[in-house]
């Protein structure tokens, strides 16, 4: 049976302060509160500040999360930070809007001539320019004010309040094709495509070698007869020039990236697809989700970036980290829903099955949401809570002594560094670091662990989760 490995991983951010007003929370709160809207718009970050923000540099792979400076990070960003990092890039919003125009195949997006020109000039200088059909931007050129004033249309802004364009709905009486839903979906497509294009470009991957794409983003693509029907994976594959690929979407709330990785690895193990790829686009709905807490603490609106990620899985190349399909943790229906029961299923059971202690794992990647974003709104430090639960379980198992709990958290956990982009924050954002640590670094095992809140969809009271062990590619480890 072929052994699956993760051979490449990329991660991107799209700076979108002008679009943050279309996040679910701002969209509900701002229209009826002009004073709050004014403060919101005045509290959006400039691009250079977003680039310099230390957690974003950790996202781009420039710094390991454990090497981040002490908080507060808002004041810790230095000058000289680059929008490009080892794992990917942070794209400015003018380029992101241009990408939106290029990837829109149904003339939904209108960009003002000025915005289209700015985007065209910037994207022509972009490292991925040769992989983008910049001429397609011309389709989007138009009267932004007229387009924004059309019934059902949404304005597209750059920065605080500068109108740059608009997006229209595709069908007046179909809420699944409303301007807002289509904006969410197109931004998911754009950020996932950006990540996949970087995966090809930065790693010298032949696009025709990829035969299947699994998309694990959160957007529900479809019309009124099949909301959420998909398939964003194939749309992204088309953008990236994966002419030999097909694809499908994997849905499991925030947990989806780990099942998608396990499925892609299973295709390799089955000998069916040599090069499956996994991709995930960003979530517009979550922009500005906790803005009230940020404003009340005199912070900028920190949820102003859309995420994106892509990874390549293939048969053992002798160097890339191995996906241990025999060490997958599943949160079963009967497992129970408490934090400790979930963690036992995901962080202990797959290890115990192989006689491994929790201390055999160098890094645990769990919900890695940036606490500087969540704490001001009263949501606490999510990764810290998860790591303390893991450490307590390790102590209960006898893997560590009680007095070693703090050291376990510090050495095998890490500070949260991800924007609250749901699925991307759920361990997937650590994948570029995991590949580094398991190849050029000194780690031998990394556990990716993701959880999903199924109960939010009101179909059951359950949550779900999945974990998978990644292992250094060494003969002595495999045998």
């Amino acid at each position: 049976m072929p052994v699956p490995v993760v051979s490449a991983s990329t991660q991107v951010l799209g700076h979108a302060p002008g679009l943050a007003r279309h996040g679910s929370k701002p969209r509900r709160e701002l229209p009826d509160n002009p004073g709050v809207e004014k403060r919101f718009l005045a509290s959006l970050r400039a691009f250079d500040d977003a680039v310099a923000y230390p957690p974003h540099q950790a996202w781009l792979g420039t710094v390991h999360p454990r090497d981040l400076p002490e908080r507060p990070w808002m004041s810790a960003g230095g000058t000289g930070a680059s929008r490009f990092g080892p794992a990917g890039e942070l794209m400015p919003e003018e380029e992101l809007l241009g990408l939106l125009g290029i990837l829109d195949g149904f003339e939904l997006v209108t960009l003002s001539p000025e915005a289209a020109d700015r985007a065209a000039r910037a994207l022509a200088e972009h490292p991925l320019a040769k992989r983008l059909d910049l001429d397609l931007l011309d389709r989007a050129r138009g009267d932004a004010e007229a387009a924004a004033a059309a019934p059902g249309a949404l304005p597209l802004h750059v920065g605080g309040d500068a109108l740059a364009g608009a997006i229209r709905g595709a069908q007046d009486d179909d809420e699944s094709l409303s301007a807002h839903v289509l904006l969410e979906n197109l931004l998911g497509k754009a950020t996932a495509s950006l990540a996949l294009l970087h995966l090809l470009e930065d790693n010298g991957v032949d696009p025709t070698s990829i035969e299947y794409v699994l998309s694990c983003g959160e957007e529900a693509i479809g019309d009124r007869y099949q909301r959420g029907g998909g398939n964003l994976a194939k749309a992204v594959a088309e953008v990236a020039g994966l002419t030999e690929a097909s694809g499908a979407d994997v849905k499991n709330f925030c947990a989806a990236p780990v099942p998608a990785l396990v499925m892609a690895s299973s295709l390799v193990a089955a000998g069916d697809d040599r090069h499956p790829a996994e991709d995930a686009g960003g979530s517009l709905a979550k922009l500005g989700m906790k803005f009230q807490g940020h404003l009340s603490h005199e912070l900028p609106v920190l949820e102003d970036v859309l995420g994106g990620a892509a990874a390549l899985v293939e048969a053992d190349d002798g160097r890339s980290p191995i996906v241990r399909l025999d060490a997958v943790g599943r949160h079963k229906v009967a497992a129970g829903g408490s934090a400790t029961q979930i963690m036992e299923a995901l962080a202990i059971e797959p290890l115990a099955r192989h006689g491994l202690a929790m201390t055999d794992v160098d890094d645990f990647a769990t919900e890695l949401h940036n606490p500087e974003i969540t704490e001001p709104q009263g949501s606490g430090n999510v990764p810290d809570r998860n790591y303390k639960t893991m450490a307590a379980l390790a102590a209960r198992r006898g893997d560590i002594a009680r007095e070693e709990i703090a050291a376990f958290v510090a050495e095998r956990g890490m500070p949260g560094f991800a924007p609250t982009q749901g699925h991307l924050a759920s361990s997937l954002c650590y994948l570029p670091h995991a590949l580094d640590r398991l190849t050029t670094g000194d780690a031998r095992k990394v556990l990716l662990l993701a959880k999903g809140s199924l109960f939010l969809g009101r179909m059951c009271q359950l949550s779900d989760g999945m974990s998978v062990l990644l292992e250094r590619n060494e003969a002595e480890v495999r045998t």
Partner: protein
Amino acid sequence: MIAVGERDGISGPAIAACAKAAGAEVVFVATECFV
């Protein structure tokens, strides 16, 4: 009582089960996710 739980803490049904065992009348149960 109203039982509101959290995924990374104690779920709503777990709180409700404890409360019912202690004799409380539970009129609403929900679990939320704060991220």
